[in-house]
Symmetry: C2
C-alpha cells in the first residue's frame, strides 16, 4: 500500500468506508469526484446511505458531472439527497427531481468552480475524492476524471480519499492540474494548444485535511454507448461532408480545429466516422473522451486529446488502462474549469459537437427539458462550448420515441442555446448551416418574416418529411 | 494638417467625401468605425447614399455597434443597405428590418471579429474609419470608439480615413489596440486588471491601403440619455442595497468587481447612484462609458474604466474632450473583441448590468424581440457579459408603454439570455436574487414545479402588483 500512500503520516488514516462516512454529517455540502461515470468515489457515499436507517441525514451533493456505480440512484432512493448539482443522468434521481423531491441546480459544467470561488454557491464542507495515489507531499493524484475535485479539495475542511487499486498506478502523470485562482488575482490560463501542460500532476492539499483513506478496487462503470446505427451513420456522413466543404472553402484545413464532442451515441458515431475520412493530425479539446477518441488515436488520426474524463466501454477501459504508457503522450486530463474554460475554448477556436433533444426553425436548441417541463440530464458542458467555440454544431435524430415525436419543431418550449450561438444543425435527413456567412441564410436576421422564410428553407433539409409537426407558439 | 497626417506620402490622398465614396462599389461589404454613436465615420457613407440617384448600389454595412449622425436612417431610406450587422438602434432602419427589406444579423458584439477571422462571415472589402490622426508610420489613431476597426482595417483591401478635426489631437494615447490574432496561432489576451495596456496606440496598417483621406469637423452625435426618474432611482437604490448586502456577506469588497453597464437610462442611473454610496476604488470593464462613468471618475470613486466607446451627452462630450489630460489616466479604449472578450470578462469577474425588455419567472431574459417577433436593437454586448461574467444583473422597469405592458411575464416569447446565466433581476418594485446560493432559490432546479414555487416567490418582489399579466405558455 505504501506505493499508493507515499506520505507516511497518512498511513494511519486508512479506515473502512463506513468509518470514513462518519465524517459526513447532517446538512453538509459534499463535493465528490466523478465526471460522466469516470473517477467517481465508489464506496463512501453508499456507506453513508446505509446510515440513514439509524440517523436522519440530509446532504447536498456536488460532483463534476454524472456518476456511475448507481450512486445517484442509491442516494435518491434513500432520501438522503436534498440538493444535487451540476449534472446527473440517473432515472431514479431524475424522477425525484421532476417530482420536486430533490432540488437540482442545472449548471454550465465550466462554471460550478467559479461560483464556488465567488461565493455565488456556498462552499463545500467535505470532499470525497477517488485517487490513484497520494504523493510524497500528501497531494492527491486523481483517477479517470478530474472534474471539480481541485476546488472541492481546496474548500473542504476535511477530505476523504478513496484509493482505487483497480486503476493502474501508471495513470499518474496524465493529469494537468492547474488552479484557475480567484477573480481578483489571476492571470491567463496559458494553454495555446490542446496538449499544453501548465499545472501539477497531483492536487495540492494540506495533508492534515485528509481525515480518512478508504481502499477500493472497482473499475469505473462502463459507458453505455450504443453502436452506430443507420441514422447516426448518416449524421456522421453529413457532418463529414460539411467539414470537407469547409476545407474546400479554405475555412478549415484537414486537421480541422480542436474538437469537442459530447457524450452519447451520436457524438461517438460522428467521431468514429472520421476514421474513414481524409482528416488527420486532429486534436481534441473536450470535457469527455469516449471510445471513438481512442479509436482515432490508435489510427494515428488524433494526435492529442485534452479532457476532464475518460468515459469508455468496458472493452476500451481495459485497453486504455493496459496501455497507459502509449496513451500518455496523447491524453491530458484537466479540471473542468479548464477543460470548459471560456478563455481556452475561444482562444483555440474549438468546434463543439453536442446532442440536442430538439431544435427549432429559428435555430434555438433545447438540450434539457422534454416538453419544456421535464428535466432530462442538464445542460452539461454544451453551453460552455457552443457559446465560446468557433463552430457550435448540434446533432440529433430528427424523430424520437420511435417516430412519435419530431425533434425538429417550429418552436422549442425551452431554450438552452439560442440562435445567437447555434451554427449548424444536423439530423439523419441532412444539414442546416445557419451561419450568417451563407448568402441565403438569415438566421440572425431579426425580421421573423425574413428569417422564417430563409431559415425554414434550410430547416426543411433536416426534418423528417414523414412527420407532421403540430403548430406551436413561436419563440 | 500635417500634424494630423504625419506620414507624408498620404498627404496627396486627401479628397472630398464624394470622391472618397467612389471607392465603394455595388455589392461591397463595408466595415465602418462607430460604436453606440461614438467614433463613427460621418461623411463618406452619406456621400455614397447621394450617388444612388444616378447608379444602382447595394452594400452590406458592418460596424462596431450603432451609429450617430442619422447614418443608419439615411442609408435605410436610400435603399442602399441590403444587410446590416451587428447592432443598430435607428427607428427607420428598424422598420425596414422588421419589414424584411434589410437583412439584419443580430450578433454578440464580441464575436463579429472572431467570425470575420474564421471565415464564418465573409471578409469586408473596404473600411471607412474615423481617425484623430495618421501616425509617422501611416497607422491610424481612432477617435472616441474602437469597435471593430482593427479587423476591418486588417481585412479590407482599401481603407478610407475620415480625419475628424473636432476631436482633440490629445485623444491619441488613450487607446490600447491589441490584435487578438487567429485561432490557430494566438496566446492569451494578457489583461489582468481593467487598466492594463497590452497593445499599440494606433491601428497598424499598410499605409498603401489608405486610398482616400477625408477631412471632417463634427463632434459625435450626443447620447440621448434621459435623466434619472423615480423608477430608475428606485432601481438604483435596490441595486445599491444588493451590493451592500454582498459586501456584508463577504462576497464582495467596497470596490466591488470591475463593472460593465449597458447603454440606456436605467444603467446610467444605476451608476450615478453609486455617487452617494460607500463604494470606492471602483473599476469598469465595459463596452461603453456613459456620463455616469465620468461623474464617478470626477468624484474620485472610479479609478479606471476600460471601454470600446465613449458615448456621452453634449455637455459631457465637451468636458471630456477639454480635459483629456486628466481623463487619460483613467480611461482605456479597446477593440470590442477585447472589451467583450469572454476570456477577460471571466478572468476579471466582471459584474454585468444590462437592460432587459422583459424577463420571466424562470429567469429568462428577452433583450431584443418585442412580442417575440419585432426586433428592437439587438443583443449587443449583453450576452458577452452575462454569460461570462461573475454576476449577470438585468434591470428594467416592471411596466412599459405607460403601464399597458408588464415587463415581468410568466414566459418570455424570445430568449436572449437564459436561466443558466441570469443571476439577479431588478425593477423599481424590488430585486429577485436568482442565484442558487440562496437557500430558497431553486432557479436552476429543473423541476418546473419546485422552480415555479420558489422562483415565483422571489419574482413577485419585482413585478408590479398593479398589473395583471395574461397567461402565456411556459418556456
Ligand atoms: C440531449 C440528450 C439527452 C440526448 O441523449 P442521447 O443519449 O445522446 O440520445 P437518445 O436519443 O438516447 O436520447 C435520450 C432520451 O431522450 C429522449 N428524447 C430524445 N429526443 C427527444 C425529444 N425531442 N422529445 C422527447 N424525448 C426525446 C430519447 O427518446 C431518450 O429517451 P429514453 O432514455 O427514455 O430512451 C443528451 O445528449 C444530453 O443530456 N445533452 C445535454 C448535455 C450535453 O450536451 N452535454 C455536453 C457534453 S457531455
Ligand atoms: C432593452 C432595451 C431596448 C431598453 O432600452 P432603454 O432605452 O434602456 O429603455 P426604454 O425603457 O426607453 O425602452 C426602449 C423602448 O422599448 C420599449 N419597451 C421596453 N420594455 C418593453 C416591453 N416589455 N414590451 C414592449 N416594449 C418595451 C419602450 O417602451 C421603448 O419604446 P419607445 O422607443 O417606443 O419609447 C435596450 O437596453 C437594448 O437594446 N438592450 C439590448 C442590448 C444591450 O443590452 N446591450 C448591452 C450593452 S450596450
Amino acid at each position: 500500500m505504501s506505493e499508493r500512500i507515499r506520505y507516511a503520516p497518512l498511513a494511519k488514516r486508512v479506515v473502512s468506508a463506513e468509518e470514513a462516512s462518519l465524517h459526513i454529517q447532517d446538512g453538509m455540502r459534499v463535493g465528490m469526484s466523478g465526471f460522466t461515470r469516470a473517477g467517481d468515489a465508489k464506496r463512501v457515499l453508499h456507506a453513508l446511505a446505509n446510515r440513514l436507517s439509524t440517523e436522519p441525514i440530509r446532504i447536498t451533493l456536488l460532483t463534476g458531472a454524472s456518476l456511475g456505480y448507481d450512486t445517484d440512484k442509491v442516494l435518491a432512493e434513500s432520501g438522503i439527497l436534498t440538493r444535487r448539482l451540476p449534472f446527473q443522468v440517473d432515472t431514479t434521481l431524475r424522477r425525484k427531481i421532476n417530482a420536486g423531491e430533490v432540488m437540482f441546480v442545472d449548471q454550465h459544467l465550466g462554471e460550478t468552480a467559479e461560483q464556488l470561488r465567488s461565493g455565488s454557491l456556498p462552499p463545500v464542507d467535505i470532499a470525497v475524492l477517488e485517487a490513484v495515489a497520494i504523493t510524497e507531499q500528501g497531494h492527491i493524484v486523481p483517477t479517470t476524471s478530474v472534474g471539480n475535485s481541485m476546488i472541492f479539495a481546496q474548500q473542504a475542511k476535511k477530505i476523504i480519499v478513496e484509493i482505487n487499486h483497480a486503476v493502474p498506478a501508471e495513470l499518474e502523470g496524465l493529469h494537468d492540474l492547474y488552479q484557475v485562482g480567484s477573480e481578483s488575482d489571476r492571470g491567463p490560463i496559458a494553454i495555446r494548444h490542446p496538449g499544453d501542460r501548465i499545472g501539477a500532476i497531483a492536487i495540492p492539499v494540506d495533508p492534515s485535511k485528509i481525515v480518512a483513506i478508504v481502499s477500493t478496487n472497482h473499475p469505473d462503470s462502463p459507458a453505455k454507448i450504443e453502436a452506430p446505427d443507420v441514422d447516426t451513420r448518416l449524421i456522421s456522413q453529413h457532418l463529414t461532408k460539411f467539414f470537407l466543404d469547409e476545407v474546400k472553402q479554405g475555412r478549415l484545413t484537414n486537421s480541422l480545429m480542436p474538437l469537442q464532442a459530447g457524450i452519447g451515441a451520436v457524438a461517438n458515431a460522428v467521431l468514429s466516422g472520421f476514421l474513414d475520412s481524409p482528416f488527420e493530425g486532429l486534436t481534441m479539446y473536450s470535457e469527455v473522451l469516449q471510445d471513438s477518441a481512442f479509436e482515432l488515436i490508435d489510427a494515428g488520426k488524433l494526435l492529442v486529446a485534452s479532457t476532464s474524463s475518460i468515459t469508455v466501454s468496458g472493452l476500451w477501459y481495459r485497453k486504455v488502462m493496459d496501455n497507459l504508457e502509449r496513451y500518455r503522450k496523447h491524453v491530458v486530463l484537466r479540471p473542468q474549469d479548464v477543460s470548459n474554460a471560456a478563455e481556452v475554448i475561444r482562444r483555440l477556436g474549438v468546434i463543439g459537437i453536442n446532442t440536442a433533444l430538439e431544435a427549432n426553425i429559428y435555430g434555438n436548441v433545447n438540450s434539457t427539458h422534454v416538453n419544456g417541463t421535464h428535466m432530462m440530464n442538464g445542460i452539461g458542458g454544451s453551453g460552455d462550448f457552443a457559446r465560446n467555440g468557433r463552430l457550435a454544431i448540434f446533432v440529433t435524430k430528427s424523430i424520437a420515441k420511435d417516430g412519435d415525436i419530431s425533434s425538429m419543431v417550429p418552436m422549442v418550449p425551452h431554450v438552452d442555446t439560442n440562435e445567437h450561438d447555434v451554427d449548424v444543425l444536423v439530423t439523419e435527413q441532412g444539414i442546416a448551416d445557419l451561419r450568417a456567412s451563407h448568402p441565403a441564410s438569415e438566421r440572425h436576421s431579426s425580421s421573423k418574416t425574413a428569417r422564417t422564410q430563409a431559415t425554414a428553407t434550410r430547416f426543411t433539409a433536416i426534418w423528417n418529411k414523414r412527420r407532421r409537426v403540430e403548430g406551436k407558439r413561436h419563440t
